[in-house]
Subunit: 381 residues, 4 copies
Amino acid sequence: MGMVGGGRGAFIGQVHRMAANLDGKIELVAGCFSSDPEKSKLSGEDFFIDPDRAYGSYQEMAEKEAAREDRVDFVSIVVQNFLHFDVAKCFIEAGFNVICDKPMTLTYEQATKLREIVNNSDQIFALTHNYTGYPMVKEAKQMVKNGDLGRILKIVAEYPQGYAVGDVEGDGQGKINNWRSDPAIAGISNCMGDIGTHAHNLIRYITGLEIEEICSDLTAFIPGRELDDDGNNLVRFEGGAKGIIHASQISNGDENALNIRVYGTKASLEWHQEDPNELIVKFANAPRKIYRRGNDYISEAASGHGFTRTPFAHPEGFIEAFANIYLAAAQAMADKIDGTPAPEGGYDFPGVDDGVAGLAFIKAAVESSASDQKWVKFPAV
Amino acid sequence: MGMVGGGRGAFIGQVHRMAANLDGKIELVAGCFSSDPEKSKLSGEDFFIDPDRAYGSYQEMAEKEAAREDRVDFVSIVVQNFLHFDVAKCFIEAGFNVICDKPMTLTYEQATKLREIVNNSDQIFALTHNYTGYPMVKEAKQMVKNGDLGRILKIVAEYPQGYAVGDVEGDGQGKINNWRSDPAIAGISNCMGDIGTHAHNLIRYITGLEIEEICSDLTAFIPGRELDDDGNNLVRFEGGAKGIIHASQISNGDENALNIRVYGTKASLEWHQEDPNELIVKFANAPRKIYRRGNDYISEAASGHGFTRTPFAHPEGFIEAFANIYLAAAQAMADKIDGTPAPEGGYDFPGVDDGVAGLAFIKAAVESSASDQKWVKFPAV
Amino acid sequence: MGMVGGGRGAFIGQVHRMAANLDGKIELVAGCFSSDPEKSKLSGEDFFIDPDRAYGSYQEMAEKEAAREDRVDFVSIVVQNFLHFDVAKCFIEAGFNVICDKPMTLTYEQATKLREIVNNSDQIFALTHNYTGYPMVKEAKQMVKNGDLGRILKIVAEYPQGYAVGDVEGDGQGKINNWRSDPAIAGISNCMGDIGTHAHNLIRYITGLEIEEICSDLTAFIPGRELDDDGNNLVRFEGGAKGIIHASQISNGDENALNIRVYGTKASLEWHQEDPNELIVKFANAPRKIYRRGNDYISEAASGHGFTRTPFAHPEGFIEAFANIYLAAAQAMADKIDGTPAPEGGYDFPGVDDGVAGLAFIKAAVESSASDQKWVKFPAV
Amino acid sequence: MGMVGGGRGAFIGQVHRMAANLDGKIELVAGCFSSDPEKSKLSGEDFFIDPDRAYGSYQEMAEKEAAREDRVDFVSIVVQNFLHFDVAKCFIEAGFNVICDKPMTLTYEQATKLREIVNNSDQIFALTHNYTGYPMVKEAKQMVKNGDLGRILKIVAEYPQGYAVGDVEGDGQGKINNWRSDPAIAGISNCMGDIGTHAHNLIRYITGLEIEEICSDLTAFIPGRELDDDGNNLVRFEGGAKGIIHASQISNGDENALNIRVYGTKASLEWHQEDPNELIVKFANAPRKIYRRGNDYISEAASGHGFTRTPFAHPEGFIEAFANIYLAAAQAMADKIDGTPAPEGGYDFPGVDDGVAGLAFIKAAVESSASDQKWVKFPAV
């Protein structure tokens, strides 16, 4: 495994490394950890990397790694949004599998272009929409697939956070990093791009439903910021289901309160990221059921493939879920090397289509928010 | 106390009677419990009413009670929506105080007219937006008033129920009573009128904020029904706060899951009707606090005036909250009789202005839902 | 209904009155509210009692009420523990039905004697072990009766409170009333008598199991107090089940956290008084089930007989549960008057046998705590 | 790092490996994974071990590793209880640091002997009482240390599980492994040794209090088993606090419901392993506070030293807590190599004293359970 970005002190890079380490099957051996070659070297030392493989630019890394016999099997891209496209394109074209942070690219147009590049290659491309790695999210998806919920009528997905609320009155010391509020680096949205896409992806993953129309009200509560730090969206899905997606960085005291409620004609389900080992299933005329990770009654989709590492009620969390994306992507890569065919139904990790859908969501929400028209058509995903 | 409506088997009439009974200060002594005089008599027997005071029509009741020296102090109106205006007008004009079920009238126009009638009278008029009777809702209101939350940025209020979901596929045996889905009886909305108004009222009660613009998407999921059984609304408040109000009768397995989250610059609060003895207060940089009813640290607003009847952790519920509306309205009536002036800040029960606001909400949501325009101005409240 | 004790400002008397009022079928018309005749009169005024029926002593009340044609149907006894026996005996022998607060008497010996008196009379005797009035406690009992739990192996019942903890360091201003810590008034135990008996009664009510042996460690943490304010008990039940009962008044920050867990070979159940509308049922190999009051799937035992007054998720609480004791006892009294035979399986309210069992528990716990011997035999119940 | 035990399919060995992998600083390079040399080799392949370092016996491993220049820094011992002493002694005496699974030894006598061996060596010895690795457990310990709770009055610690309940009626297919119910392998207790010791250790870790006397009632509910599968214990601590410790493997439907409540004169705290990211703090006269891992207000004790890897509300779980034991022990080893002195207050991982205390608990509980005497003195710890 190689890494682009994620040097000393970078939060998400460290998460990727822990996720990769967890199962003892992936080793970080190369990287370009900073655009400053000196810093890249120093970070390489922190991570026990051979100095020759701590590169000064991603282009150099792609070239030199491609030339090695013991080249890395894949590259993790954890740079800022505006670089995702170039770096991913570079490594895909150099013949490397890629695991890329989300949002996949800066723009919807880049996203569709990257999809073309990936689809025309033989490389594996995984996107770390990490919340889909939680076993009970997989259980929820399986229940929908089984028809346990009946026809889906309504979906509510939320991702409220409060960490930036201090900035609203100007005393929060810029908790939203400058780059996240800079359109040139982050793209046309901050909050919808950073966390709204997670809520949207969770809906797609669990239900398979695509949005048809959206009506958005995005707000920049933090004075002087160009990009949204809060957004409320009404959505209409293909086939007639309705829904709400809202996300916020100024919801005081909320932490990472991502949650989803899916209401069907037979049953509904509810999952909360802050209590991820449980899945609540509700019925009109029967006691509620609490499904708990690690039990024998949990489906293969959630318990198999190494996705569950500890028995029931030995809680698993964020890192384990993140590691499940790595695990599934690494399995796909290993199978490619071995010539093992993909399992029926495919591998269970988010990919380039999820990336396109995420950029479509960002584009549609921003357009709708600026529009006087009630409903904006969702771009093709 | 007299009652119009609420005969044998009527749920809400029975709730009003239990609420009135609880504190041993109000006695039901007269009523017109049904438009069928025979049924009214029989219901009167159930409730230990003197047969002479079990009337065959509300007009008869108003006339005869007005003529008695021991006339009732007030009349509770628990008939179907379309009759509220006529019955309330009749009793107000006959000189009786009135406690009326919500929504206050069939239309916004009736609501403003009833307001005029009430304001031009000397009578007390209370509206049973009963959820504001919960002590911890009162505590929440007090916190906002104290400025504990700072400036309010965002409000999310929900009222999902699932009891009518069976009707979506046609096997629910009409759980939404026919009258609730009949515009002539229920008005222009079912779900927004029945429960959406509760969520709206809760926002107004706690925060004092009025909606400026609304963007609604109402749905009739139950085939063959004219009126909504689900609705999602984006709202913008005076002063810049944003919000979401949604209510539903087809949210499978949800019961009476009314809840509200109010996010301010200093703190946020969260209250759930199904767990009404707790109020959650959240902060960006301090531990969450759980305020629990009946403790010494709870404000006079929530603990005084008889609003709290049992010590902490001896749970109080729906009936006690409902009784608090009766208690406060009865106090106002008693003070009027005694010539005691109203307390500074007034009495704590919903009144005719709340009724107008409720009909404004229904009108705006229905208009917005039918419109292609994104934002609909909220009617004057 | 008449009342002995419970004058102005007495908490439990007020609870009894609210419980009696709730359903509009019971009216307080007589009472001896204080041993001070003047105070009794004044309290009578508060409660709208005919001055002739606000008596100066309970003996006078028994005599005069017995002589009236419109004599009260029953008397509620809410005096201090040491008077229970005398007052109950007096009214039973005067031909009145009795509803009595717990613990039933001052001593185990009085309890067995009162049982004899009651059993030799035709009167109804109800004891307000009010927590058994909660519908979901009734549901739990029904599940055990149905065999849903299989054979019971273990039971844990707790009643931790913290309200007296301030007294431990001497700054709590005597939160445990003097009379509760005075053996002459309260009996041989404070904490076990006041709340330990509730935990014990809950076990008996739900499971029907009687304790065979007990091993207790009672403590008086509050300096200068003779009686326990905390107690931990190991228990062994007839038939081989084991268990733990603990109760405390110095468990800082706990409120009325009565709860019970019953573990059986097929399933286990868990109920918490502070969240009384839910019953948690757990299985070794299936999702947990959450039973919620007011749903159609709840048994007749919990939903019938008027025990459930509001639909699901309109929370019911302490007063409603208390009222269920009154409701069932009043039904028994009404049936006696009408000559209606008792229902198969009897009425569902605690009686004189529960009172004896409660005093047996107090006696055994206190004896065991003072003993070096590990196990103390439980007195006959 | 080397490992003894924990071959293919062994649960706890895999947990140790994940815990060691997580931070990317420890690499498994040698092991004796089975007493069967062939199986040891095969497991070595699974873990990418150099075949020369997959040993056939632990003695061989100790000898050969000791002779290597690149010898392992420490050895993790994850064999069955009865081997702990011999293996630990062997590696300590061969000059290796040791991380050992609990209970530390088969007997109390072995435990004190091992303590002597460790204390006379220069080696680091860590015991995986892993629940003390949870950050919010560390926060709890810090609060007690700060005096936030005042004087401690009462402690209740529970560890109910239900996984073996099926065996009670004989259809559970021996969920308790044979070795756990075999005294020769597991020692004198099954349930108290396996999980009771965790509850006991949690008390000691958080409060620093030692038990003075114990009164136990252990039970073997599973027919034909010699060793306990359930146990209830009353305990008295030095200094006057009282408490309850109970643990069970037949508590149907409970999973790993380890929890602790510590009641002090100023405040009390409550922590549940199944919801490990929260710590509940309760007060007599103030709102409850919910402390949540990863926030800025959390102490250095819980957030520093790498013990917290993800921001608030990105849940951490069992593996991360386990990894914290490895992290702290590895830091101690690194400091020893570097000659860095230990931090003031020492390192934060369980050690040989905790192991002795654990065996003392097992010994005392088993002795007490067999005794007619109420209180048994706790062995020296």
